[in-house]
Symmetry: C2
Subunit: 538 residues, 2 copies
Amino acid sequence: MLIGSNDPRFQNKIPLNPFGENKMSTNRRDFLKLAGAAAAAITSTAAAHAGVPASSVAKFDDEYDVVIIGSGFAGMACALKAGQAGKKVLILEKMPTVGGNSAICGGNVACPVNPVQAAQGIKDSKELFIADCLKDGLGINYPNLLGTIADRCNDTIKMVVDCGCEFVPNKMLFEAGHSVPRSYEIKAGTGSGYIIPMHNELKKLPNVKIMTRAKFDDFILDENGRVVGVTYRKGYRFDSKLQSDDIENKSGRPATVKAKNGVMLAAGGFSRDIFFRQAQDPRVVPTTDSTNQPGATAGVLIKALGIGAQPVQLCWLQFLPYCNPREKGFGVSVNFTNHACMDLGLVVDRKTGKRFMDEHAGRKIKSDALFKVIGTDENYPIAICDDAIVKAINPSFVKLPLEMGTVKKFDTLEQLADAFGIPKQALLDEVAKFNGYVKANDDKDFHRILTFNKGLDVSKAPFYGIEVSPKIHHTMGGVMINENAEVISANTHKPIPGLYAGGEVAGGVHGASRLGTVAVIDALTFGMIAGENFAKMQ
Amino acid sequence: MLIGSNDPRFQNKIPLNPFGENKMSTNRRDFLKLAGAAAAAITSTAAAHAGVPASSVAKFDDEYDVVIIGSGFAGMACALKAGQAGKKVLILEKMPTVGGNSAICGGNVACPVNPVQAAQGIKDSKELFIADCLKDGLGINYPNLLGTIADRCNDTIKMVVDCGCEFVPNKMLFEAGHSVPRSYEIKAGTGSGYIIPMHNELKKLPNVKIMTRAKFDDFILDENGRVVGVTYRKGYRFDSKLQSDDIENKSGRPATVKAKNGVMLAAGGFSRDIFFRQAQDPRVVPTTDSTNQPGATAGVLIKALGIGAQPVQLCWLQFLPYCNPREKGFGVSVNFTNHACMDLGLVVDRKTGKRFMDEHAGRKIKSDALFKVIGTDENYPIAICDDAIVKAINPSFVKLPLEMGTVKKFDTLEQLADAFGIPKQALLDEVAKFNGYVKANDDKDFHRILTFNKGLDVSKAPFYGIEVSPKIHHTMGGVMINENAEVISANTHKPIPGLYAGGEVAGGVHGASRLGTVAVIDALTFGMIAGENFAKMQ
């Protein structure tokens, strides 16, 4: 066991600051003991490598044209395009419900150079989109993949709208790190706003089957190294109490399925994989909370590396800077903290009452700044906005957090200061200064883009306050893909025949840190492209 | 082909700034076309995965106790310890000569808390060593591995001294990024000062065989996933004209060898692997020069991932900030620029004549700062020192660069300024200011530790100047190992039975960026530990 089954820190509590000195060292020592000579209690007879030879499969239990691992944005988009072209498609989803992280995410979606922007006179371009992504990505993103997204995003939006997805009409969100408003706002307020209609469309296609509780195990390869099918288990029961479900969970009945045209990896990222994520950054301990659903593990990625997929930028882990430390996981407060307080309001260090960052910068910049302030004594910053701001945003963003009590409402800023232990006058001065910046459209302290506030400042009662803490959210790296969503082999530098990937399991689009709303367009677009490729095959 | 065989940029010229905007975009587009739908000219029938089942090997051509891949510091240290204990050891070295990068590196070696420090009253500690490494490593190093190095380093030094390695007596180098002087200086001035004596010791052991031109191909695994041998090719002729020797080179005669106690990976890093390195950072184009010998490729790493080794921090590529753009590869100037100019002298932007960084900071900090100044018009900074400094350092550091003409000598600073196009008065002012800082032991501009200058400043003719440009030097990431040098599996979180690794092919010791002289102690120590483990086996 990683830390010790009795260790209270392993019970989901308020997440520890992974960068905290005193908490970190103990956890890190304990973590690293796992991999040490003292044998772990976990037993496994799994062979160390991947890839089952097709010659060893006497008879496939089933045959499809396309087998897709995962039922989030990328998986469903692929199934849609392939299925609508008449392909026989099987989606293997290991959890009991479809949608993965896609179903629970914020759901808004970037689309550079779209008609709503044009109608509002917002000037955008493919180059500006790529430059924005490269900035938070620290320059290491793959521009060709970003270019593909920019080229196809309007087709992607059409695909989801044709399924019945509904966006707030004529509205473009100005998302953190982007230079201009370029993101559609999903009416539903979560990714379920795509998953439900897409799932309904897929259910109409008799040639598309979605199997839940179906756990991918390995690739089946022919003598030329082509992926011709997969082994998996039906009736799998994911167990979030296990430290490593991928390794320890032996439930389910084994089966094989042939994939005539190929296999699509749409298995998401590994933010919940406590071993694989901590291997990249030992400070991310098992108790570090994540926004992800528990199934976000590295099993598929590991097997893909096992058959030679080129690893890309696996080290980069993203923390979402909009989370609340008082609720577990993604919670209900993210959209409020993001769109009310960080887009329009402000965030202060509760010890000083002062701002400490550009609240509209990219996620890495903000998470790094937040962790510095949180330090080792859980000094969670306070995100603040007012009544006018709350009225300006999607009402669904404030409803639940108010009910849950993560967001608190106050008649005056003084009362807010009292409740959170912020020095009163310092806060009043800082808010006044901020309001001055909004009026002048000039953030002298942090150079935040204030243009799109349209004069909204923090001045009208009631006032709202919420604590902020980053949680691990997205793993930028993954397998290398090309513009056709083909997985590239480290052994040959060419595509692994029969293997495709898109979404968070692939790497290179986002570089070191991804911008908000770009993962949605990424996963949907490369899923769509993979599906289109399958549709063209015999 | 990556860029086009006719492309003059692919002939080793002055290295391009990988972060230069205009040069970068073309190269990056070309690079990414390789992995695109337009098929590359490289043909390969290699299967996509790794791991040959032992059941398919009718009869092994040979049998040893230990098979070691690579003959640098880690490989030779492992062979020494295992061989001296009577084990039958085979080293497979793919190049025509032994030593790899180890033979050509700077060669000085860190050893926290050693007798020479004690004799000189230098206070050091394991904790300080770990903290220093964590600082340049951006906090993501594995402290247990650093602790192992600190615990065993004196044994490591004894091992190499017993072979006949000679250090400059009673001298401790104060290496960049370290808080105190803690590094032995190798008399020979390069890593050959270890490789030659260690090789001589190994040649005395009849039970140790070193086979050059022997190219590891794959692991042989038994039904329990234990590594029981390797396949390789004898008579391999590495071809540095190929874009990917690992993929394209089919020379040599296949053979198999059983490894009764296990296999040690000591294959080094991938700084010369233009595909694998660029996968982690697209800005590192094929023409980006490296300090490494041409054999530093990712082939062994890829095969290890193929049998399930856990990848650790593969994204982190280090540039060595002491290189010269006028010579190829590591060249002859590194030690001069490092120990004369950066340790004791200063570095200026030739456009302004001013310093722009702490010349004694860690490599990442300095490389990032240098690249910023170099920009897109090859504005190579000038590193400067004087006669007293040159006389204070190892004479072998200045001899060759003067002969080669990378270092130039001048009677006055004014002449130096003229030769390099530096504004004269600005340079004189800056040097005077620097000398004042040395005198006061207080670098007011960049907070460099000046204590160990012992008053040496830049004031006595003749004066020396040399251009500086970083080159890709070390790949921090690799396979996960524990304190026993066992490789950890991503599939089981436990050691892969029979598989060991140490040195640059392993990851976690150095985090995001390694300190100088720590790679030497890292590779020697984990090689030693692996060898000790083999020695204990039946």
